[in-house]
Amino acid sequence: MNGLLMALLILVAVSALGVVFAPQTIYSALSLVVTVGLLAVIFLVLNAQFLFAVQLIVYAGAVMVLFVFIIALLDPASEERARLTDPRLVLGVLAIAGICAAVFIAARNGVTYDTSCTHQAVSCMHGYRVGSGGGAADPYHTFGFPAAQVNAAGNVQTVANQLFHTYVLPFEITSLLLLVAAIGAVYLTRRTSTATGRGGAARPARPAPDDLPRESAEAPRETGERPLVTGGR
């Protein structure tokens, strides 16, 4: 188990480095697909089957397809490669190191996510609790969720319970935000009507499809825009 997880982590690191150092942009994107897939396998090894499937569907199957799509179409071969002396690069590396250190320290000291945590308790802060469980002595602690309970239901029920009972309001608000973003994106990309002069109030008058088949080339661009946003959800 430990060996397998170790091997997976090494593979993730290699493919993640591939994202940065790949000679062509398309290989960078494909490396990212591999990284996302390997992360999904890590979820599977940790017995989170639901997250495994969702990770593959959402990230590998929807988000990254569009990345690859756009990269293959735009062919950004002429893009300037970053120099090692670029101050932004130094800042970026420092930021990454800082985030990694913070996550590592948090994990080793057992910062857990506990739903039974009430806000009155001193050690509690919005459900995050420092202390018991996790840490170096118990690295595979499952925090607020007992392993047996989570796995008996195949995690779907557990995740659903958290999303639709405990955190239903934040969840719905988030989905509303995404919807607003989706509608906004559609509005921004659609053409404004010049005939009426009422920017986007009406669709450009279009002849009947049977009369003018060439017109059809426009339609997929409009409808094809939608998976960009909804697919990411």
Binding site: G3, F50, F52, I57, G61, V156, T223, P227, G231
Partner: protein
């Protein structure tokens, strides 16, 4: 040690049993692919009042073998400006993704070897070895299948892009847009039966259909799924990615010999997978359509019913392909986004409301 880690992938099962099942399924699917090409030619021939292949072997039954030999020994021509690695990987990915998806589909009910089955549907087997007839017995089987099929898009798109040809690229673009769009419709259509079954475990979904198939409880979802799934397999009337009249052959224009065969294989095995999912979720999977107390129906193995239902669905798919003309691209997109998707949402709402009211 070994017992502990593979358990995370395939559930608590004997590793050699899983290996045998995997090899068996791969073999059966490869054979199914070969004979599906023959079946397609025969069905299309009958629909067009022709005979179809009838020279190689009796009734042309050895035709797939001849085709296979031809594909393997053909010269492998490749375009000059191709991306060598991706050009090689794409067809392999097509076949792999198609076969992988089959891992979670239960072909028959659980057999308890050396112990009695517990529960009215025989789902658990406390004493003795529970022989599951799917390879990876995972709880989120349906989501797993959706995940794997969503990976299959890469083969089409990369195949089209890496060949460095305009027809291939256009075909690849169309196919990815189409598959991504219809994936939503497929997922929404499948939620209906999942709500009724209360589980994503496909074995469980089948056993809850003992009294009534979900085809009758979810007719709208079945139609939505079937239409969207046809589009996902890129078959006529949704075969825009390889529309001969516009794109020569679409994403596999620049492929030849067995590499072309791999794309072909991916498409046909995807057909089998789609039919198998429809069988599992709507047609009662391995369950007999007649009461098992009648005549000999108690003795017919479940796997046979499963195969029979899959074959019927495959025939319908071929029938559709050789009967209906191809859709125009914008119509395809508006069908997916403006018809199938809203109807799928409506179906989920109605089903969810009824289930919630009945539970209350």
């Amino acid at each position: 040690m070994i017992a502990s880690w593979y358990g995370y992938f395939i559930g608590p099962d004997l590793w050699w049993a899983v290996l045998i099942k995997a090899a068996l399924i791969a073999l059966i699917l490869a054979t199914a692919f070969a004979y599906l090409t023959l079946a397609e030619r025969k069905v299309s021939a009958r629909i067009q009042l022709r005979y179809g292949p009838n020279r190689v072997g009796p009734f042309g039954l050895l035709q797939p073998l001849a085709d296979g030999i031809k594909l393997f020994f053909k010269e492998n021509t490749a375009p000059g400006g191709r991306d060598r690695l991706l050009y090689l990987v794409a067809p392999a990915l097509a076949g792999t993704a198609a076969i992988l998806a089959f891992a979670a589909i239960p072909v028959a009910g659980v057999n308890c070897l050396g112990g009695p089955a517990v529960g009215q549907t025989g789902l658990s087997c406390p004493s003795g070895y529970a022989l599951h007839w799917d390879i990876a017995h995972i709880n989120v089987g349906l989501l797993y299948i959706l995940a794997i099929t969503s990976i299959g898009v890469y083969s089409l798109f990369l195949g089209g892009w890496s060949a460095n040809s305009k027809y291939s690229l256009l075909g690849g673009l169309r196919s990815s847009a189409q598959v991504i769009s219809y994936e939503m419709a497929v997922a929404f259509a499948l939620i209906g039966p999942v709500i009724l079954a209360g589980s994503l475990n496909l074995e469980h979904v089948v056993t809850t259909q003992q009294h009534l198939w979900y085809l009758f409880l979810q007719p709208l979802a079945f139609v939505l799924y079937f239409v969207a799934a046809l589009a996902e397999t890129n078959r006529a009337p949704f075969d825009l990615p390889e529309a001969e009249t516009e794109l020569v052959a679409g994403y596999h224009t620049e492929y030849s010999s067995m590499r072309f065969g791999m794309f072909f294989m991916g498409e046909y095995i995807n057909m089998v997978t789609v039919a198998a999912i429809a069988t599992t979720l709507f047609l009662g999977g391995w369950l007999s359509p007649f009461p098992t107390s009648w005549f000999i129906f108690g003795y017919i193995p479940g796997a046979l019913w499963f195969v029979l239902k899959v074959v019927v669905l495959l025939f319908v798919m071929m029938w559709v392909r050789w009967t209906l003309p191809r859709l125009r691209y914008d119509r395809l997109m508006s069908l997916g986004w403006k018809v199938l998707l809203p109807l799928g949402l409506l179906n989920i709402m109605v089903t969810g409301t009824i289930v919630a009211l009945r539970a209350a």
